[in-house]
């Protein structure tokens, strides 16, 4: 809770720093504030917090875990954004402030205890992201990404709200606890309005997390947005979307498992196949990462399908592994694009000879995303698959394994380009910030991969 207040104040403070032209202070102040927010969030671990503000929010261990993932991802992304925003405009303070406001929305999303807070959290985050997607005002692609994101985002908000309204109509409350009581107390005579509302909410949330068949905006928006913003969208935002999804279904609708499970099953399998098969045909590394993020949404959905005591843990681990690996991939992409001006696979040719360190970290990231043992991604996939297996969805695991194999092919394409294809290129000049971020993330990936007990026994 304190973290939420601190970050809101921090965002306003950053705006004031911009007003007084203190450009050099922006990054250090943001990072210090985020660090303090992280510590405040972690202090509430296991404090047995009760719902606050008349049951509006509940800062439990679930919220602390996802808040930490969000804050750490944002810190890493801010570190690589050094000198990035300055290329776009003279008024950089706003970008930091909007990014922080989006993070505030994420914090609300992962700690809601009332459907109105879910809505407000999603909107705070989305409205900030609409602006961020279009910060390159004169770039055609950025414009298009902003408009597509805005129109699909507003459209999906409509579905989400209609779902919330139907649930309110049948239960008479927005409070998660009261809705749960309604669902448990008279299972035989649940109003059909509730089921309609549930389906509409699944549609709205699937839009937000980019799950098929509501994924069509994801590749365009991810490709068109500035790379830093894409990194933020595919790490912190995606994690928050799944946290909200899981929290809602875990607290409220677990007793109706038999009703919504088949729906999510179909969505998950479709997402896996569409994401992975389309990623095979991509020539652009950035667009490939967009499709890979769709396919990871499919894997993350497994935890909700096999809702149980292990679900939270597997989502935390998977989301953390996926986020840090994606940050490495996007950081390297920024460096490569700065040098060659293109984000195609060919622009990675021969990178290993000139920049062995960068090529090595990107290899670790790709192995982690593909789920090769000794990386965090493997542990994440392993936990997801074992959660699903414990619910006896054997054929779902078979589908997932087929998809994991397809995934290895396109993830290794960039590794092959870096190590086995030669090209005339000069060494990339990387700044210490970049080296720290990619080195630190690669180290985390390996540590979680070798000693998963750090975060696999949290819950």
């Amino acid at each position: 809770m304190n973290a939420l207040i601190l970050l809101s104040i921090l965002a306003i403070l950053v705006l004031y720093l911009g007003l007084y032209k203190a450009k050099n202070a922006l990054l250090p102040v943001s990072l210090l504030g985020l660090g303090a927010g992280l510590i405040l969030a972690l202090l509430e671990w296991n404090s047995g917090a009760a719902p606050i503000y008349d049951g509006m929010m509940h800062f439990d261990n679930f919220a602390v875990a996802f808040t930490s993932i969000g804050i750490i991802s944002t810190m890493l992304i801010l570190l690589i954004s050094k000198d990035y925003f300055e290329h776009i405009s003279d008024n950089v303070a706003e970008y930091y402030a909007i990014l922080l406001f989006a993070l505030v929305g994420i914090l609300v999303m992962v700690s809601f205890n009332n459907l109105s807070m879910l809505f407000i959290g999603i909107e705070i985050m989305s409205v900030s992201l609409y602006i961020l997607a279009g910060i390159r005002k004169n770039d055609y692609k950025s414009n298009e990404a902003a408009l597509k994101y805005f129109l699909t985002g507003a459209f999906s908000t409509g579905f989400l709200l209609m779902g919330i309204t139907f649930i309110y109509g049948s239960t008479g409350s927005f409070d998660l606890g009261l809705i749960k009581n309604y669902v448990i107390s008279n299972p035989a005579e649940i109003s059909p309005l509730l089921y309609t509302g549930l389906i509409l909410m699944i549609i709205g949330l699937s839009f937000k997390v980019g799950a098929a068949p509501f994924h069509f905006w994801t590749p365009d928006v991810y490709e068109g947005s500035p790379t830093i913003i894409t990194a933020f969208m595919s790490t912190a935002v995606k994690t928050a979307g799944f946290a909200a999804f899981l929290r809602l279904f875990m607290i409220c609708f677990a007793p109706l498992h038999d009703f919504w499970m088949p729906v999510l099953l179909v969505i998950s399998v479709l997402t896996l196949f569409i994401g992975n098969v389309t990623a095979l045909y991509q020539h652009s590394f950035k667009r490939m990462l967009a499709f890979s993020s769709i396919s990871h949404a499919g894997y993350l959905m497994f935890a909700i399908i096999a809702l149980g005591p292990d679900s939270v843990n597997s989502v935390v681990l998977y989301a953390a592994a996926y986020s840090i690996a994606s940050i490495i991939a996007f950081a390297v992409l920024i460096l490569v694009k700065r040098q060659t001006g293109s984000d195609n696979f060919e622009s990675f040719n021969g990178l290993a000879r000139q920049n062995p360190f960068i090529a090595f970290t990107l290899t670790i990231a790709m192995l982690s995303l593909a789920g090769i043992p000794l990386t965090a991604g493997f542990i994440g996939k392993f936990m997801m698959f074992s959660t699903v297996l414990s619910e006896y969805h054997v054929w779902l695991v078979v589908m997932a394994v087929i998809n994991a194999v397809i995934g290895i092919y396109y993830y290794l394409k960039v590794v092959v380009a870096m190590y086995f294809k030669s090209a005339e290129r000069s060494e990339i000049q990387s700044s210490p910030y970049f080296n720290f971020v990619i080195g630190f993330s690669a180290m985390l990936t390996l540590i979680f991969g070798v000693y998963p007990s750090f975060i696999s026994n949290l819950f």
Partner: protein
């Protein structure tokens, strides 16, 4: 105020649900078939207004004010979305002199 509540309660709840679903469906169809960004945007607002109407009806029928408070949240956030959305549309209009979403097709695989 009492009269208003009674007037709303005088109409059966099913009528409100049907009306809202029809308005909502008009909004959804509008988003899917219209090609002008501003008209799409208006259709989205129509969807939100259907939600507002239904929330008020449920709120009166449950005799519970929280539904009406939620409507204020929706109105405030819809206003924020309008501000951002129109800014994005103006930005695009300056670059391509059109608000037709079919022209925006640079990003494709």
């Amino acid at each position: 105020m009492e009269n208003l509540t009674q007037a709303i309660q005088g109409v059966p709840l099913n009528h409100y649900i049907l009306l809202s679903i029809i308005v909502f469906a008009i909004g959804v169809v509008g988003v899917l078939i219209r090609r002008n960004a501003i008209v799409i945007f208006m259709s989205v607002e129509l969807m939100l207004n259907a939600v507002n109407l239904l929330l008020i009806a449920f709120s009166v029928h449950h005799n519970d004010p929280s539904g009406q408070v939620f409507v204020f949240f929706i109105m405030a956030l819809a206003a924020a979305e309008v501000a951002i959305g129109l800014a994005i549309i103006v930005m695009i209009y300056r670059n391509i002199n059109s608000t037709d979403v079919n022209i925006l097709n640079k990003l494709k695989w």
